[in-house]
Amino acid sequence: MADKAINIIKRGGRRASEPFQRQKLHASVRAACLSVRSPDGLAESTANKVCDAVIMWLETKPEVTSADLRRKATETLESFHPEAAYLYKHHRLVI
């Protein structure tokens, strides 16, 4: 599935908004799955499922914040891989 023509408003509004990139979301979800030592194939398929679900959710939105995007991705990831979802959700809250 291609990138969506939707603007993602960055955290705190300090940086310029940018178009949604599926690849970027895919890489972050895949990394979260690999971090909890999931096999490569499972990480890949989970990331694809999460990306598909997020893109469907984006269909109805003119623009979203990066925090919204992260929340939706976490919510979806929770149903496929709760442990990876935990790390994905908390990775900014470690230090």
């Binding site: 895949r30 990394a31 979260a32 690999l34 971090s35 909890v36 030592r37 490569d40 442990e83 990876a84 935990y86 790390l87 908390h90 990775h91 900014r92 809250l93 470690v94 230090i95």
Partner: protein
């Protein structure tokens, strides 16, 4: 001598309960595993990080002890112990109230600029030398919390013979590193980071309480042992 070693060991145990280095190690491992680094590389990074923490702890304690030695070469006066006790008790209360932020996760009350810098660098660390430097920086980042136990240990070190001072510094460094070494071993043996991080989050209030209480207990003990008892003796009461 045993009294000095006990003070050093207890202060090091309090130091071990502070969590910045452990948080950074967890974050760094997560990014290394997530970017499919080999297990050998992961171990190189975590070991280099731990070595950096060890070296900086050792250097900081030696520096504080050396500086205090310049002032108190003829013996540590009661006023120095009293100041250290005040520091410990004040910090103990501060740790009880402030150590972890109220957010979920394990975010700490360290300056946010420093936390952001450490967090960004931790995520991008790919080389062992970088991990080593980061380990050293993590000790500096947490200096506001670890200064008091280090200062007390330095005062205790001054009461030992030079040979024993080296043993005392090594003992402090080893004990203060225990929590980091345990997490390092867990990561190295293949435990899931989510389990480690969840345990840390679930028990963060206990760790905060233990660290704060430890500081208060050490502060009160030293006040009685080094200040009240010494004053009583010099005043001829006993």
């Amino acid at each position: 001598m045993i009294n000095s070693f006990a003070i050093i060991a207890f202060a090091a145990l309090i130091h071990a309960s502070f969590q910045l280095s452990v948080s950074m190690l967890t974050l760094m491992s997560g990014h290394a595993i997530g970017s499919k680094s080999s297990h050998a590389k992961l171990l190189r990074l975590t070991n280099a990080f731990s070595l950096g923490v060890a070296i900086m702890t050792l250097l900081s304690l030696s520096f504080i002890a050396f500086t205090l030695q310049q002032y108190f070469s003829g013996g540590v006066p009661a006023v120095a112990w009293a100041s250290a006790c005040g520091l410990l008790i004040g910090l103990g209360v501060a740790v009880w109230v402030f150590y972890y932020r109220r957010d979920s996760g394990t975010t700490l009350w360290i300056p946010r600029g420093m936390a952001r810098y450490l967090s960004d660098r931790t995520k991008h660390t790919k080389q062992s030398a970088e991990a080593f430097g980061l380990g050293m920086s993590s000790v500096v980042g947490e200096l506001i919390f670890i200064f008091a136990p280090m200062a007390v240990s330095a005062l205790a070190l001054l009461q030992l013979d030079p040979g024993m001072q080296i043993v005392g510094i090594a003992l402090y460094t080893f004990i203060s590193l225990l929590s980091l070494l345990i997490v390092n071993a867990l990561i190295g043996s293949g435990h899931k980071l989510s389990h480690i991080q969840k345990w840390r989050e679930n028990n963060k209030r206990f760790l905060q309480f233990a660290a704060g209480s430890g500081l208060l207990i050490l502060g009160f003990y030293l006040y009685v042992d080094k200040v009240v008892a010494a004053s009583a003796l010099s005043g001829g009461v006993l």
